[in-house]
Amino acid sequence: MKNINLTVNGVPVTVPEGTRILDAAIKAGFKVPTLCYMKDLCNESSCRVCVVEIKGNRKLMTACSTVVSEGMEVLTNTPKVRASRKITLELMLSNHHKECLSCVRSGNCELQTLANEYGCDAEKYEGAMNSYDVDDATEYLVRDNNKCILCRRCVAACNKVQTVGVIDAGNRGFATRIASPFEKDLGGVPCVACGQCINVCPTGALREKDSIKAVEKLLADPEKTVIVGTAPSVRAALGEEFGYPIGTDTEGRMVAALKAIGFDKVFDVDMAADMTIMEEGTEFISRLNDKNAVLPMITSCSAGWVRFIEFNYPELLPHLSTCKSPQQMFGAIMKTYYAKKIGVAPENIAVVTVMPCIAKKFEKLRDDECAAGAGIPDIDESITTRELARMIKNYGINFNALDPKTEFDNPIGKGSTAGLIFGATGGVMEAALRTVAETVTGETLENIDFKATRGTKGIKEATITLAGKQINICVASGLANARKIMDDIKAGKSKYHFIEIMACPGGCVNGGGQPIVSSEKRNLVDVAKTRAGVLYKKDKKDALRKSHDNPVVNTLYGDYFEKPNSHVAHKTLHTSYVKRNRY
């Protein structure tokens, strides 16, 4: 490709043809603010906060959409540029409910940060202000259009990345706002609760529904034994909320913080992920050996994905594994096996999970997720990684001072690293293959790295040989990719036997409940890949890398569940699905 030479604020840079001014400026060492643009997602050129001067051009140009040309002289910080950005920001603020003191995004809001950097007078322009009802109809997502700056990043996430398409801009002029069809709230449309819209929103207009208060109530209840479990990918991202770089493993500190908050037991949901592998692997083998069974079998760990298939492909529900997700298995095990073991009535056990996800707040409310009996939900509350960080701060716990070597509670706290890699796209498949391959062949595998399933590519496929049989596998993440796979199945064109699907692009490490990364940082870091690195690094050096080797798993089957897919396992660890109407 041809190279282009230009200068940015006098600094010469050479970039490939077709590069945006924004990226050339970054290369030259300058920052250009962006409110609507987000790398690989949104390029509406609507906010005009990224304007720059180009010598010889009277009009200011948007750095996010203008591409470089030979000899171009770009100026990113002249008085004219800075004044223009300031006015743009002040106009946005004039129609913005400025609640920074209490806003969840305060300190991590792209609008607030820029308003501050550009010395904006938030009250400079007085005029009409929109006033919208806050949409908090669902259990998982809150939309507050009073803080929306109409960047349309959420629209791109929902419509392009996820092909769910329940939000878009409507009306015109001053009345323009993001809405769902026919002004329905998010509970009245086929939103799958993936939370990807939250992760890209520059402001506090989108956030998860708060569950912290409910958790505090459980902790304050003297009757309850409160158990907390953490999902694989939480430890790979929580540190970001405390200033650690993306890709830092903070497992020990996370466990210590949960103990400091006052949970009675701190367990690892990786253990339940191992149980998922045992159950799902066995289910797959029996489907494979049954001529009448429905194939391909598709994983059911991702609550957003399950909602997506229920809304959009209900006729294909028999393809879904009947296994509960690791979260739900975790709760079910706690309220059946563990309750019995510690001699506490299941009603007096409360199970809280920390998840990278907001769909888990919905999943816990599903039917057929009460293993210990009607009215005793497997999971009582589920908080996101972000909410846990808020709690740690609110409790005045110095995260940095916590012991990084703190371990999960015993005896059933520990998971294998097969369970750990569930947090990244392809991880469930790799974990399942490790177990399925050894179960089918009865031999110990030399090499248990299934590299074809790794990486953040949206669709990955491979063919493996299991006891002389060719097995075609596929791994998809992001619902646009899932849709392609499903359309093929629907058309009878699918050649796969086993498919892993995760709703969030890159898997749970990039889930809708994870710490929010600004558009500025996303220009420089591949978030999903970097966080996944934490999981694979740990897996590489760990001694316990297969679910079926986990002593906890063997204890659970030995003491309670008999064998995978047994009657009691079915009753406790499996579930059912429903057809949902879109509108």
Partner: protein, 155 residues
């Protein structure tokens, strides 16, 4: 009746299959056929062309030509073109809105009246102008609103 319309609209969709930018055209045709754009029709357009319903709805609310509710028996259309507007049609439409209890673009709950704002209808000499079911009223004032309402309420 609806079945017939659905069939007719199906043919329209078919004919737009290979046309670039078909969504707007389908919406216009749908409005001609059904008189408005109910959710089922918007969903049909969305699914047919593989665009989100939210996007179709966004377009429907962006352009004032699209109606989201079944039109009432009596359609009151007040011109908000420049000539009419300077002569006070804004006040006229506001008064209708107050009396009917609906915003422009909407129909009264009993299905009788639809209030609409239109662009210049080419009778600027008579400004401000409004039409009731196509019948033109010129040089209207806020007071004539009462007369017009009385006439149709007694009809």
């Amino acid at each position: 009746m609806t079945e017939e319309k659905d069939k007719q609209f199906g043919e329209v969709l078919e004919s737009l299959k290979d046309v670039p930018g078909p969504v707007m055209m389908a919406m216009q045709k749908a409005q001609e056929i059904y008189g408005y754009l109910p959710i089922e029709v918007q969903l049909r357009i969305a699914d047919y062309f593989g665009v989100p319903l939210a996007t179709v709805y966004g377009i429907a609310t962006f352009y004032s030509q699209f109606r989201l509710e079944q039109p009432g028996q009596i359609k009151i259309a007040v011109c908000l073109g420049t000539a009419c507007y300077v002569k006070g049609s804004g006040g006229v439409i506001e008064k209708f809105g107050r009396m009917l209890g609906v915003e422009p673009g909407h129909t009264t709950p009993d299905g009788r009246f639809t209030l609409e704002a239109t662009r210049c209808i080419g009778c600027c000499g008579l400004a401000p102008v409004l039409t009731v079911n196509g019948e033109v009223y010129g040089k209207v004032t806020e007071d004539s609103v009462d007369e017009i309402m009385a006439k149709y309420n007694n009809a």
